[in-house]
Symmetry: D2
Subunit: 147 residues, 4 copies
């Protein structure tokens, strides 16, 4: 669990609802598999529909999972009613995304009133072995205007 104090008493319900409100996540078959203040895990089953020319999952799809994990992790530490936008992220692709299941684990490194910094890792699961395939570091922004 994170060392940061949550500000939103309904963070689990609100973060789950925000995640569920994204059609892109349904299109990619990405589900919320763990949620704690400042920590999120998403999971995605392999599908040939997401692959590139060598049969590995496309880097953009992996990035969609990593970015979403960061966004929801940041969201859990924001005040109730905040909107969340991604400012930037870098993805490093360490090895081809080969597996039957993919996990995206993000944690908040530094929450802030306006900007929150997160890190995330993507893992491929194949025959009981989990391999680190990609990392992300990213900046998320709270949109507080509607509060």
């Amino acid at each position: 669990m994170t060392q940061f104090e949550p500000k939103n008493p309904d963070l689990c319900a609100d973060a789950t609802a925000t995640f569920a409100a994204q059609p892109a996540m349904r299109t990619l078959g990405i589900a919320l598999s763990r949620l704690e203040p400042g920590e999120v895990e998403l999971s995605m089953a392999y599908s040939p529909a997401f692959t590139q020319q060598h049969g590995f999952v496309h880097a953009g799809i992996i990035t969609a999972g990593l970015d979403n994990a960061c966004g929801i992790a940041a969201f859990t530490l924001m005040p109730k009613g905040a909107g969340i936008l991604t400012v930037e992220f870098k993805t490093n692709l360490l090895t081809p995304a080969r597996g039957t299941q993919f996990m995206f684990r993000a944690s908040v490194v530094k929450p802030g009133r306006t900007l929150t910094f997160c890190e995330a890792r993507a893992f491929a699961q194949d025959k009981g072995v989990e391999t680190l395939i990609a990392t992300m570091s990213g900046t998320l922004m709270a949109i507080l205007s509607q509060i």
Copy 2:
């Protein structure tokens, strides 16, 4: 057009074939709309299936288009038979991805035997106006083992 000398005499056919061999691009409705040595444009129509919780296209989908544009641009300057992998990229999201059509334009900044550096920009088209929505800078790697 780029200032770099292509090494693959069949670069247009080979790059088109590599692009077409990616199921993820079909899933996302991304098409190759322009191809020159070192320069690529991809395009994608808006679909509600790709959106996040505010109705904008998801940053991961935008990144998939940018990354692919970079990959194909880098590929056009590689020797015939090279494979191509993304090493890393950073995406900066400048404004929400709102529009009816999205364009991903990449160009090679520095080709290399092993590593190629590219930059790309994503634009949203809406009611005849084109807006810069995101940028990418990324490193691609040539896999020459099979040549």
Copy 3:
């Protein structure tokens, strides 16, 4: 010149003063060589004191020049009295930093009330030839609390 409308009528004087107020720039021998709204060029002479183990200028020193060019470029489009902080940057090093003079050229790509996105390029000059050696893309933040 940039297409963005400056908000600070004294931007040249203020940006020059902000640049001059940085001891680190004097330590590294980096000077302001061009300043327009949204565009900045800094220059630095080669010194063996800044080199790494192969005799090239250290990537961190190149990054200091690129980051400063971005910061001052962003500053020129901010309201009078704003403070400026770097949120993040990525540097891609394209070729070893070998030369007698180094130029750092930054421009604002997207100004914003809180966040400004800039790009910059570093060039090495050697025997009358200028070579692109590194790129930066970065996010700068305006600190408006003191206005």
Copy 4:
């Protein structure tokens, strides 16, 4: 300690020598304070000569420390005689660099024959308290031609 198997039996001596061969590190007063296979810590005392306009240590100087920590960490896992170049890094600046002493801690996340991926964190020490001020993720390249 890292989980990766070192290939260079003289890694401590060779990494220490490579670090010491960099005039830029002496100029910035950065010293090697810990060295293990795949893990490096550098330290730097505060100096007004390295500051920006608000009296904090300049982001470029912090980046020089982070980049060097990554480079040496990557070097420890390369074969004897390899040269090392930085391909790219991203720095996220989390809070102003205020303190009397700065620590740069890097570890190898994924070593490779050609490319090695590292992460690093910068900390400021002030009155007995250590604060995370910046992070880096970066790609390093082994130059094996001279082996």
